[in-house]
């Protein structure tokens, strides 16, 4: 299976944001992303795109879906979307507005039946389990709600072993937005036994960080949400360095 380079767009209350240890800074809406970052061109160097709505306020759901739809119309790669998926209808709407997969987060712990229902209805491959992981020494814990609620990591492994999650997206809370490098150790949080592809996120500040993580055998994909460091030709250079290191990525012109 080819490995993947993924970009994550974080959306909060009407705007895309940068996050650093979960403190966010507004950067602009979808038009701003186009005009300032030429995002559609940047997106030619990624295998997949993820959009996460971190608003924690359902009144922004509709605007998030419109944003998703606008982004999708100019980016010809698979797109996963999530954040605030509480019901089947929430998920159905995201698919309708252009998502190929949805991310589930708090539902893993609070409503696993929703996760299994989504997996049966849309297919396991369309449901991505997304959690934040905090390191304390050599111990790891899963958190939701912007790093404030500890959750039982076992639930994640259970849903994987039951075949309800097609992929895992693990984000390091400690490295989030720091640009200091990724923490592959967070993969220890779940007994995955290579059953589903693992996407590692959090901490990439330069191409080497993504390269170091993607070369690990248990990491199938790496993601960055770092717009400042990876737009321009950052993703192109990253892709080149990964391919030059002998890691198999999909290729196109």
């Amino acid at each position: 299976m080819k490995k993947r380079l993924i970009f994550t767009l974080l959306y909060e209350k009407g705007s895309f944001v940068l996050s650093r240890n979960f403190r966010t800074q507004k950067i602009g809406d979808v038009r701003w992303l186009g005009s300032h970052y030429n995002f559609e061109k940047v997106a030619r160097f990624i295998d997949e795109l993820i959009l996460i709505n971190i608003s924690a306020d359902s009144s922004f759901d509709e605007h998030f879906r419109e944003t998703l739809s606008e982004v999708v119309s100019g980016v010809f790669v698979p797109v996963a979307a999530g954040g605030g998926v509480r019901t089947i209808d929430d998920a159905t709407s995201l698919f309708k507005f252009g998502a190929d997969k949805i991310l589930v987060n708090r539902a893993i712990f609070q409503d696993p039946v929703l996760v299994s229902t989504l997996s049966r209805r849309f297919g396991q491959q369309a449901v991505v389990g997304s959690v934040d992981v905090r390191r304390t020494g050599s111990d790891f814990q899963v958190y939701t709600d912007k790093g404030t609620q500890v959750q039982p990591a076992d639930r994640l492994g259970e849903l994987v072993s039951q075949g309800h999650l097609g992929e895992l997206y693990l984000n390091s809370i400690d490295r989030d937005g720091t640009g200091q490098g990724m923490d592959p150790g967070i993969a220890e949080i779940v007994d995955n036994s290579f059953q589903v592809p693992l996407i590692l996120a959090g901490g990439a500040g330069k191409p080497e960080h993504l390269l170091n993580a993607i070369t690990l055998p248990y990491v199938n994909a790496v993601a960055t949400a770092n717009l400042l460091n990876f737009v321009g030709d950052g993703l192109r250079k990253t892709r080149e360095s990964i391919v030059n290191a002998g890691v198999e990525l999909a290729q196109w012109d």
Partner: protein, 213 residues
């Protein structure tokens, strides 16, 4: 440039990833309309049949709206061309064994079945992600693309090779299977060109501008 082309009709039977296909067609400078109306479909020169989901459910939805008649009228008259994507490609064949089985639209020969048991024993099914596709010589769809090009797949069922006279593109996932076919005015891809970066856009453009034979 849009106005010089007749619009593309994206066939809507309620199970498609229509938004992405629509965006890709628009990006290529063509106008499109989404329709589940058998009359509109039967009179369209360019048809795209997308789809994600269960084959029998799709056929039920298609028959309920008499879309099958519309597609056959358009395509068998030779006035129209059609491209099926993913489940849409599978629907153009004679049958699938998915979910208890169902006949297809039978525009082309061939049957769709789950990946062989020996594949599922060693590799995850569904087959998901970018995989290399070997283009057949003389292909209209793959014109201008490398003989081996990466495209994005998501599927658990596939058409086996060796059961159709159509020009076949192939991919390998534990076994060789049909990644795409073309025969006259009928085209299909098991992969998603609308999710396959510039290679997918090129392939879609090749279909859209192909001459009717």
């Amino acid at each position: 440039m849009s106005s010089s082309f007749s619009p593309v009709t994206i066939v809507d039977y309620g199970m498609g990833n229509i938004r992405s296909v629509e965006a890709a067609i628009k990006h290529l400078g063509y106008e499109s309309r989404v329709s589940g109306d058998s009359m509109v479909i039967s009179q369209s020169e360019i048809l795209v049949l997308p789809g994600v989901g269960s084959f029998p459910a799709a056929m039920r939805a298609i028959k309920a709206k008499e879309i099958d008649t519309g597609i056959r009228d358009a395509v068998t008259s030779g006035k129209s061309k059609i491209m099926g994507i993913c489940l849409g490609m599978q629907l153009l064949t004679e049958s699938s064994s998915e979910d208890g089985g169902s006949p297809g639209l039978s525009i082309l020969g061939g049957a769709v079945e789950r990946f062989s048991p020996h594949v599922a024993a060693t590799l995850p099914v569904p087959h998901i992600g970018f995989n290399s596709v070997i283009a057949p010589e003389g292909s209209v769809l793959f014109d201008g693309l490398a003989p081996e090009t990466d495209f994005y797949f998501v599927h658990s069922f596939r058409m086996a090779t060796g059961q159709s006279n159509a020009l076949l593109a192939t991919a390998t996932y534990g076994e060789k299977f049909v990644a795409g076919f073309e025969s006259g005015n009928v085209f299909g891809t098991q992969f998603h060109p609308e999710k396959s970066q510039s290679s997918g856009l090129r392939l879609l453009a090749n279909f859209l501008r192909s001459e009717l034979t």
